[in-house]
């Protein structure tokens, strides 16, 4: 591999007969070329951007494969199982915690050639293969008169399988929920190569819900190949609202009351003062205050009723549609990492969730501890997802470390995770665990971590599925 330094170098080699076997099944959809191995050496874990700029790549697989159907995934997994070779499943590579990095070498299985879609209109369901691109699916559904309602910021580059594997949620989650609320059934290839189908019944009382084992499993229990997702009729009406508040408490309390009354806006986002300045600097009326944007959508009579509830409950100055339109236009403009990483700025986001009762405490504690790390330029946050029971805070930090960027990065992460646990929050709301958060999962889950390990060991005796991910 020419002049690139591999950070997580593995000694595992791929036996030549294994490679021949893979080629005999997949033909030219197997590669060991440098450019391919290099292209699958990372996901979108932000610290690796700094590595890349210095000519370092996180890890190298020994082969990349592109199966076209479940049968081929099975074949690949069976070969890997027989030979105890690590398997890493790859979707869009937009994960931000290193969950897809092939740190033990092995085989990367890219799912993006599996992208068939079948609509079941009568049952408001779509059957879709795991490698299907997110925006591709949403556009397909829109043309047919439906929406999935799932709009993560990674909508454009990510895949449906990736959404399920990382337990993703989207910007419109307050109405439509996270991906776990949309998955009705799924199909997965297990570590020894058999296929399990968890059928898309409307509901079933057939023991524990085993599909949830795979939602958020980040490739450690098998490969998700297909899913059945709930869909909604394309919204008849959309209403855009925004408000300026003097304090974060005031804005959070307003949303709490709205949700208690049963209104379910699709989008609610509350920005702290720094983020209000950052995102809405063009709007004088909100500069230096707390901005809240709300989108209601669905049946016109229902959204009109929700609008009335919001207007009754929101304590703050109503600002109309313009802030929301600005957000809609700019919500996928991912620019900062590209602009600032080459200038030496370490930049990342950390999302955690908390009950209403401790929301403000968590916000203030995390801002303070992350800001206290030497080298930090700023820390800011917005509340991005809301539930009757609590809220998700999405923190952004940036810093210019004097020494090693990775050390600074880990220091900020450590204080953030430690403080979240102390206050009583969940260490991840929707980005998952990956490699970055692995060491904190045990503390968050308690005894449940041992349960997870036992499940992993029972399903994956040879530990071939994304080994070391999530710290299990």
């Amino acid at each position: 591999m020419t002049n690139l330094e591999v950070v997580m170098r593995s000694n595992h080699e791929l036996p030549s007969d294994v490679l021949k076997h893979l080629i005999s099944i997949l033909g030219n959809r197997v590669s060991t070329k440098d450019v391919d191995l290099l292209s699958y050496s990372r996901d979108y874990w932000p610290i690796t951007l700094h590595w890349m700029l210095k000519g370092k790549i996180p890890a190298l697989a020994r082969a990349i494969v592109w199966p076209k159907n479940t049968r081929e995934v099975q074949d690949v997994v069976k070969i890997a199982y027989e030979n105890a070779i690590p398997v890493y499943t790859y979707g869009g590579g937009s994960g931000v915690l290193g969950g897809a990095i092939p740190e033990q070498g092995g085989i990367v299985v890219d799912m993006k050639k599996m992208r068939s879609i079948k609509l079941h209109e009568e049952n408001l369901l779509v059957e879709v293969e795991a490698g299907t691109n997110g925006y591709y699916l949403e556009k397909y559904l829109n043309k047919k008169g439906y929406t999935l309602g799932h709009f993560p910021q990674s909508l454009y580059p990510s895949t449906i399988g990736g959404w399920i594997a990382t337990k993703a949620t989207g910007q419109f989650s307050t109405k439509y929920g996270g991906i776990e609320d949309m998955v009705l059934g799924l199909e997965a290839v297990l570590p020894w190569g058999d296929v399990v189908t968890l059928k898309p019944h409307v509901r079933s009382a057939t023991g524990p819900d085993l599909k949830t084992l795979f939602i958020g499993s980040e490739g450690i229990l098998g490969i998700i190949t297909k899913t059945w997702l709930k869909i909604w009729p394309y919204p008849e009406k959309r209403i855009l609202l925004s408000f300026a508040s003097e304090t974060l408490e005031e804005a959070l309390d307003s949303v709490n009351r709205i949700l208690k009354r049963g209104a379910r806006p699709a989008v609610v986002r509350i920005y702290d003062i720094v983020e209000t300045k950052r995102h809405f600097y063009k709007f004088d009326e909100v500069y230096g205050k707390i901005a809240t944007i709300i989108i209601l959508e669905g049946d016109s009579k229902l959204v009109e009723a929700e609008k009335q509830i919001i207007e009754e409950e929101f304590k703050g100055k109503a600002l109309g549609e313009n802030l929301v339109k600005h957000w809609l236009e700019t919500r996928f403009n991912v620019k900062e990492a590209s602009e600032f990483a080459p200038l030496g700025v370490v930049f990342d986001t950390i999302e955690v969730s908390i009950h209403w009762s401790k929301a403000i405490k968590l916000y203030r504690s995390l801002i303070n501890v992350m800001r206290s790390v030497k080298g930090t330029l700023f820390v800011s946050a917005h509340a991005s997802h809301f539930y009757p029971q609590g809220v998700c805070f999405y923190f952004t930090f940036a810093g210019i470390p004097k020494g090693d960027p990775t050390e600074y990065y880990n220091e900020v992460w450590d204080v953030a995770m430690k403080t979240t646990l102390e206050v009583g929050g969940a260490i991840s709301h929707h980005h998952g665990i990956g490699r970055q958060r692995g060491k904190w999962l045990k503390e968050d889950l308690g005894l449940a971590f041992e349960v997870l390990k036992k499940v992993k060991n029972a399903l994956d005796e040879k530990k071939i599925m994304n080994p070391r991910n999530m710290g299990v």
């Binding site: 391919d36 292209s39 000519g55 591709y136 990674s154 600097y281």
Partner: protein
């Protein structure tokens, strides 16, 4: 009104000045350009992946837009060798520029990676599959080899430039385009035109592109025409967008046929149902995403069904960019079939306005009419 980075200035105030901090101040004050475009693209999580036909159909990280930028960055940085294996992914690009529509910086991945291709060509590192194109363009100024003996129309008041694919594959489109123009009172004439040079440009042979462009500019400028109409949106794009970048001047006004017909087609009636495919060089390159649909909708009685991806979200036919159909014909046809499947959900008959798109679809058994063919049929009743 506060400015874009005022919030950051507020936050940084009072912080200890450390390494790179002065750079940040300069950057947010607009006194520093920051990283170059290739680096910015390489650092992106592929926010245009969904729009890239290669990415959707090929499905590989290696040929994804940011994936290509990363490879180009590593080659430029000396971390990866400049060899055929490493540059092949850079040629897996249709040059449709769909990526530009979704990029906050409006980058064209095709443009960002072209310098690496140019360097490779200069060093003689080129695929054997390209040598015939280069030879044909050098010897005949024509991608298809020695041109057939062509009958020219010497007199007229507008110059009709057909483009290589119309000349070689679709002489009937040439005739029908002329008839449509004549029905509007124009007298088109033709000349011994050359290739606009786009195939050489796409493949990174800039020396050859510039040679062809200069020769073609001379032919056009000496024709005496004030107005030029072409059936090929890539040619129109070359004359209007690329030539000026290389200081090559074309004197007459250049129109793609759809642009020339805009507002001139009136009172036409027909029956039937069609769908349409917006050529990327018309919708994105020439920035006329709505034009083909608008022309079709002006025909009374014609049922026009919109495809899922149209206008600026159009999906390349698979034969664009000059490289993929030569290096990986199977992938080109897969992309074509992906698009055809979507179009066929709307109507049996597809209308487009690019000879390459017509060729791509017809090579994959998709019934496709050039807009001029449709108009000719409607005019004849």
């Amino acid at each position: 009104m506060p400015r874009k980075w005022d919030w950051l200035k507020d936050e940084i105030k009072g912080l200890e000045l450390i390494r790179s901090a002065p750079l940040i101040f300069k950057f947010i004050s607009g006194k520093l350009n920051g990283p170059d475009d290739l680096v910015k693209c390489a650092l992106c999580p592929n926010m245009c992946r969904h729009a890239c036909p290669i990415s959707i159909v090929d499905g590989k990280e290696t040929t994804s837009p940011a994936g290509k930028a990363r490879i180009a960055f590593f080659i430029r940085d000396g971390k990866l060798e400049l060899n055929l294996e490493n540059i092949e992914p850079l040629y897996m690009c249709l040059s449709c520029d769909a990526c530009t529509q979704w990029c906050p910086f409006e980058f064209s991945v095709s443009n960002l990676t072209r310098p690496i291709k140019e360097e490779a060509v200069k060093k003689g590192i080129t695929f054997k599959e390209f040598s015939e194109v280069f030879k044909n363009l050098k010897e005949y100024g024509y991608v298809y080899g020695e041109p057939k003996d062509e009958k020219m129309v010497r007199d007229g008041n507008i110059l009709y430039l057909r483009g290589c694919t119309i000349r070689e594959k679709y002489p009937e489109v040439e005739k029908k385009t002329s008839k449509v123009l004549e029905s509007l009172g124009y007298k088109p004439f033709t000349t011994s035109e050359k290739c606009c040079g786009i195939p050489a440009y796409n493949l990174g042979n800039i020396t050859l592109f510039k040679k062809l462009a200069k020769e073609q500019a001379e032919i056009i400028n000496s024709s005496g025409a004030d107005v030029v109409v072409t059936s090929c949106p890539s040619c129109a794009y070359a004359y209007r967008v690329l030539y000026p970048k290389y200081s090559i001047k074309i004197n007459p006004k250049i129109f793609h046929i759809t642009e020339f017909l805009e507002g001139k087609i009136k009172g036409l009636k027909t029956k039937g149902r069609v769908t349409f495919h917006d050529p990327c060089k018309l919708a994105i390159g020439l920035k006329r995403p709505e034009l083909l649909e608008k022309l079709l909708l002006s025909i009374e009685g014609l049922e026009v069904k919109s495809p899922r991806r149209k206008g600026k979200e159009t999906f390349c036919c698979g034969y664009g960019g000059s490289a993929i159909s030569r290096l990986n014909a199977q992938l080109a046809d897969e992309i074509s079939n992906e698009r055809l499947k979507e179009l066929r959900e709307e109507a049996e008959v597809i209308v487009t306005a690019c000879p390459t798109c017509k060729l791509a679809f017809e090579s994959n058994y998709g019934k496709t009419l050039d807009i001029a063919e449709l108009l000719y049929d409607v005019l004849r009743g």
